[in-house]
């Protein structure tokens, strides 16, 4: 499914406004999220993975908003500094278990257009809609009802102790 990009000025205003609204609530700070602007349409959100043993590991989520508003942001786990896609086996790719039926994480996924790339598979990620998935009516992204908040809070849930089991590789091996 090919999705039309939004006028960059419109998309960036909506994206920045919705992120600002989420941060103004004070919850991201309480949850340990940090936000770094890359450009008008791209932000990095650092979010902690919280394992059942109490250990905490930071993860970097790259949000790209070229289609934002009518569609969700594109979100990926990325490496710090370079912002390139994190690969399974690296410190920056989370190990997840006991996942709910509404979430999947693929290191490499074959998209219908032939692209082989990471897929964070849930209905508040743009890639979900370009990878031939069919959400139920109550699960589809709805502009006005859903914002980038939905993307971030679902990922916060996934990176919590019910599902998060640590990095795919220990920090020492990532050096």
């Amino acid at each position: 499914m090919e999705l039309t990009e939004v006028d960059p000025e419109v998309a960036s205003l909506a994206f920045a406004g919705d992120l600002d609204r989420v941060w103004a609530s004070g919850r991201p700070q309480k949850l340990g999220w940090m936000r770094t602007r890359i450009d008008d349409l791209t932000e990095i959100v650092q979010m902690p993975g919280r394992a059942p043993d109490g250990s905490v590991d930071p993860y970097c989520l790259r949000l790209h908003a070229a289609h934002y508003g009518p569609h969700p942001v594109k979100v990926n786990f990325v490496e710090p500094q370079t912002w390139t896609l994190a690969r399974d086996g690296s410190r920056w790719f989370p190990r997840l278990e006991n996942l709910p039926p509404w979430f999947g994480l693929h290191d490499v996924y074959g998209y219908p257009d032939g692209t082989q790339e990471q897929l964070v598979c849930f209905s508040f990620n743009l890639d979900y809609y370009t990878s031939n998935h069919s959400p139920q009516p109550t699960e589809i992204w709805q502009q006005g009802r859903h914002t980038v908040a939905a993307t971030l809070y679902r990922l916060h849930d996934i990176l919590g102790p019910a599902h998060y089991r640590g990095p795919a590789a220990p920090l020492a091996e990532a050096a």
């Binding site: 609530s25 999947g104 849930f122 979900y128 109550t138 009802r145 908040a149 679902r154």
Partner: protein
């Protein structure tokens, strides 16, 4: 001669304050109820006046501290809910359905 206001009668129901974070759009709502009120009334008000949508089977309403599902307790009064140790902060998280995997 100095006069003082009489104390409120002990039987007057105390007000409780419920905070709901909407994890679909980042909004936060504040709702008030009496200890004698059932949770169901505040949940109905949440849908009617704040979320402005019908309740769906895959909606989630959980306690911010610990994640306990709120819906199974909706027939309890707030007094019972708090006395039984559910969600003492009365801070709830709302999330609609999500598809994936």
């Amino acid at each position: 001669m100095q006069t003082t206001k009489p104390d409120k009668p002990d039987h007057e129901p105390k007000t409780v304050h419920v905070t709901v974070h909407n994890e679909d759009d980042g909004d936060t709502y504040h709702l008030n109820a009496k200890r004698d009120d059932a949770l169901a009334g505040v949940i109905a008000e949440l849908y009617d006046k704040k979320l402005r949508r019908d309740r769906q089977a895959d909606d989630r309403l959980s306690c911010e501290r610990g994640g306990e599902d709120v819906f199974p307790s909706e027939s309890l009064s707030f007094g019972e809910y708090l006395d039984q140790g559910h969600c003492p902060d009365l801070e709830w998280l709302f999330a609609g359905g999500t598809g994936g995997a």
